[in-house]
């Protein structure tokens, strides 16, 4: 290559761009995925004391975990809380999303920030505040709320709400209002128009919102921490409490069950609603 006008000759580092970028990418995925891979793997180890390489593989730890009442109860409580929180967040969140998607009106930004705030205020701060608040309510009314299922349900509904608001609004914003108007001019009654035109279009957003809401509630740790009590403890808190005492394949089996539930839910959601759009 002669050309006096050609740019500066190829320096050694030019070829390093792709390898460095891909290397960074691989390192990032190793960081993110290795704890999950490790815990799933160990849940099948035969020996109770973790040793490498394992002497063999077994499913015994799943049986052992299922036999332990605290895990069973935690799982059931988390499931029930997730369902209640999802329902509440849909009842409260879908109408709110319909209003927010109308576009600009005075106070819209403020209302939107307020509804998304539970996502932004740190869990530990919000949890502590809610705990103190519920105790004050209890003192004033004489009804126990903190450390009951319904106290937790309130906290979890708040965790779930921003997700339904956000995803349903996102699915509505792209919606062409003329579709609905076209249906109205063609003689559809408004409720019929909603059922036949608006609903099918926002359904992916609602389904995704519900699934995200459920997952966010199911995995929550910080907010629930203050509000759990005897008899009402969520699975993540049972896991954390157990981990403070011992690390063994039983807890790995429990964690693997949670990983499986959440992954299945997310892969399912992705078919309705591209997950990347939720962020």
């Amino acid at each position: 290559m002669a050309g006096t006008r050609s740019p500066s000759p190829r320096s050694l580092s030019d070829g390093s761009f792709r390898p460095v970028m891909v290397g960074g990418c691989v390192a990032a995925f190793v960081m993110v995925l290795s704890p999950l891979v490790a815990i799933v793997w160990i849940s099948f180890f035969e020996n109770k004391i973790i040793s490498f390489p394992p002497t063999g593989y077994t499913l015994d730890w799943y049986r052992a975990a299922a036999a332990m009442p605290q895990f069973r109860d935690g799982f059931v409580t988390s499931l029930k809380l997730g369902v209640v929180a999802t329902l509440v967040s849909l009842i409260a969140g879908v109408p709110a999303a319909l209003v927010l998607a109308r576009g600009r009106f005075p106070g819209r930004e403020a209302i939107q920030s307020l509804l998304l705030a539970p996502l932004i205020v740190p869990g530990i701060v919000a949890g502590a505040a809610l705990y103190m608040f519920l105790i004050e309510v209890e003192l004033a009314s004489g009804v126990q709320v903190a450390m009951t299922f319904w106290g937790l349900a309130l906290a979890h509904s708040l965790i779930a709400l921003p997700w339904t608001v956000r995803l349903v609004t996102a699915s509505l914003v792209g919606l062409d209002p003329q579709l609905k108007e076209a249906a109205l001019t063609m003689g559809a009654r408004p409720l019929t128009a909603f059922r036949l035109v608006t609903w099918p279009l926002i359904r992916p957003g609602v389904v995704a919102g519900a699934l995200f809401a459920f997952i966010a509630s199911f995995v929550d740790l910080e907010k629930s921490l203050f509000l759990v009590g005897p008899g009402v403890t969520t699975l993540p808190i049972v896991i954390v409490n157990y981990l403070e005492w011992s690390i063994d394949p039983t807890i790995a089996a429990v964690a693997t069950v949670q990983i499986a539930v959440i992954s299945a839910g997310l892969v399912l959601t992705d078919r309705y609603f591209k997950l990347a759009r939720a962020f």
């Binding site: 006008r5 740019p7 500066s8």
Partner: protein, 352 residues
Amino acid sequence: MSNILIRDLIKRHGALVTVDRVSLEIGQGEFIAFLGPSGCGKTTTLRMIAGLTPASAGSIHFGTREVTHLPPYLRDAGLVFQGYALFPHMSVAENVAFGLQMRKVDREEARRRVDEVLSLVKLAHLAGRLPKELSGGQQQRVALARAIVYKPEVLLLDEPLSALDAQLRTEVRTELKRLQSALGLTTIFVTHDQDEALSVADRIVVMSAGRVEQVGTPREIYQRPATRFVAEFIGRTNLFPGGLDGPGRFRSESGERFAFGNADAPSNASALAIRPEHVSLQRGAPAPGGACTLEATVEDVIYRGALTEVVVRTASGARLAAHLHNADSGRDDLRPGDPVVASWPADAPMLF
């Protein structure tokens, strides 16, 4: 000596071949247009020349230097993108200076050359602006300035006028042609707009389905299209599928007989084409002998300003369009349903 030499260039995407054995020699200072419908491989070819898309096979030389496997930053080409791709975070002057900085041109010299090229495109007064503060036409000129400031071996333009409105487009292409010949830049211009290609290029490369259909001057391309595709793609054409019916005679599928005088007609011709402007129309009886004429009925008369387009239909149902210049005759006397005789010069029909 040719400046750019492209030999058997191929681009494959799996089993799909998007550019198929394209070969081309481009002389120093020549203005070449790649013309073809979308998806014909013209932009892919341009990107391979720029080095943005790796070639699957074949070679590209800039002068004596083979660049086939060089990355874009070592090729020394200037590229104007379809959407311009001006760096939004840099001012006009910074955008233009970028290529000079990459070439380690010293600060003073770079400033002088940026000023020079900006006055060349008449934007010196906007040097400090950000791209988003400019109009579409101004952005286009910044993109051009940015690509020519470092005097690249070849200037590549990817549909550079498509984002401009019609009037501006004509203005800018004239300006572009003027600059190109003033600077003596070897230029490749990709477009799907035949008007653009015909009016600016020294030579046009017509492409279709990844292949080169014809390379020639605008006049050659229009007057002597090498293939049926070129005849149909460039300008308006009346096309009749059919076959030869003796020397100098062609018979269309629907039964019309055409006489023609071109000596170089292929013996296996399967179609005959006549440009509408070669067709003239007369009222009354056909000329004796029936050479180069066709009896027909007026179907439609469309006034189009400089010319009137008259569509006629033969007894067997074939349609023929004629472009009549309004300056000569003003054929507003023709009405749908009028019987007419269409005729053309003996050398007007083209055979494929």
